[in-house]
């Protein structure tokens, strides 16, 4: 349970331990910096030719933020290995679902605009 539980020190009855919040603020600054970087990219990489690269960067940054929120704030990084995998493996299905249906969407759009237009 690492840094989050530095409270098991000797305490007198009724005494309250000192807060241990360094890791919380560290995670906060990481999230703020990633979000700020996303805005910088949103307004600096505006050329249509860079769309795919820009969106890939956004997705990587989003997953990075998710890692810090789930790992630190939701404490999953410090849980048992079996619990970590129980949560992460089913979400892999979602990745497949998104990729499959986005491909399907492009195809549907293609069909509608080319096969049914005169």
């Amino acid at each position: 349970m690492s840094v989050n539980h530095a409270t098991e020190l000797e305490l007198h009855p009724g005494e309250i331990a000192k807060p241990n919040t360094g890791w919380i603020w560290k995670t906060f600054w990481i999230l703020v910096i990633i979000t700020a970087a996303e805005f910088v990219i949103a307004f600096s990489m505006t050329s249509p030719g860079l769309r795919t690269l820009r969106n890939s960067i956004f997705i990587v940054m989003t997953i990075l933020k998710a890692f810090f929120i789930v790992g630190e704030f939701m404490h999953l990084k410090h849980e048992a290995k079996s619990l970590i995998w129980t949560i992460l493996v089913p979400t892999a299905l979602l990745v497949w679902l998104v990729v499959a249906l986005i491909t399907e969407g492009s195809y549907v759009g293609e069909v509608l605009s080319h096969m049914f237009s005169s």
């Binding site: 996303e38 956004f58 998710a66 704030f73 939701m74 979602l94 679902l97 998104v98 509608l112």
Partner: protein, 258 residues
């Protein structure tokens, strides 16, 4: 257990049936080393992730089905023929009417939600130390930031529904202002539908979270958790709250940035 036919029947004393069974295969093992409540919250959140995943998947499919605006961003115009560029739709800020401030308001909303996550985790940390006053303080901050986010979303919605003065000329020649479920001035009808459903479903989650936090604050003030000897309820509601923040991270990227 009186009619039990196990081999131990003769060897075990009468009190055996009442003794807690702690063997690995009797449920005495805790492979996840997490309490029942926290585990169930994790499983609920997993199912909720699938609900939001379904929304974002539908969004991806529908967006890719529609045409893309191929020109430069500065030449962009609203039309139901192509999907709108988000920063051209979400460019207003309360009190700064008529000024083009792309994504400024959503940046503020994102910051509010990140702050609320931090104050939530501070409340959980205070709970570990059995510090009632600190738990109360951080819960109040979290409720404040959660309510601020909800108010921001209410403004965002009313602006989206009201639209701009200029509006957009639709295919039938009429001028459309704002949005409803059947038509909107920004792009294809489904653009507004997905906006309403995805941000609305997320906002409902934030609202439920604020209700739970208010209840938690009352229970903390009444000393319910102090008598119980632990503040695990704050941890469980904290998990839910961070999940709502997590969903916003994805909504933010896929609805506002990409």
């Amino acid at each position: 257990m009186a009619h039990s036919t196990t081999l131990q029947q003769t060897a075990a004393p009468a009190a055996f049936a009442d003794a807690p069974r702690t063997g690995t295969w009797d449920g005495g093992n805790e492979p996840f080393k997490a309490s029942y409540g926290k585990l169930m919250m994790w499983f609920f959140l997993l199912s909720d992730a699938f609900t939001f995943g379904a929304f974002l998947t539908a969004y991806g499919l529908i967006r890719h089905k529609h045409g893309v605006f191929t020109g430069q961003a500065k030449d962009f115009f609203f039309s139901s023929a192509h999907w709108p560029i988000p920063e051209k739709v979400f460019n207003a800020f309360p009190g700064l009417h008529g000024i083009d401030l792309p994504l400024a308001f959503v940046a503020l909303m994102t910051m509010i939600l990140i702050f609320s996550s931090v104050t939530m985790v501070l409340a959980v940390e205070a709970g570990h130390r059995m510090d009632k006053a600190d738990v109360q303080k951080w819960l109040l901050w979290t409720i404040l930031f959660g309510s601020m986010f909800l108010s921001s979303q209410a403004w965002e919605w009313s602006h989206f529904i009201g639209g701009t003065e200029a509006g957009t000329r639709m295919a039938d020649g009429s001028i459309m202002h704002g949005a409803n479920l059947a038509a909107n001035q920004y792009g294809p009808p489904l653009f507004a539908d997905l906006f309403f459903f995805i941000t609305g479903f997320h906002g409902t989650h934030v609202f439920s979270g604020v209700c739970l936090l208010v209840w938690c604050f009352i229970a903390t003030t009444n000393g319910t958790f102090e008598k119980r000897g632990h503040y695990e309820m704050i941890e469980k509601i904290g998990l839910y709250w961070h999940f709502v923040d997590l969903v916003w991270v994805f909504v933010f990227t896929f609805f506002y940035l990409v």
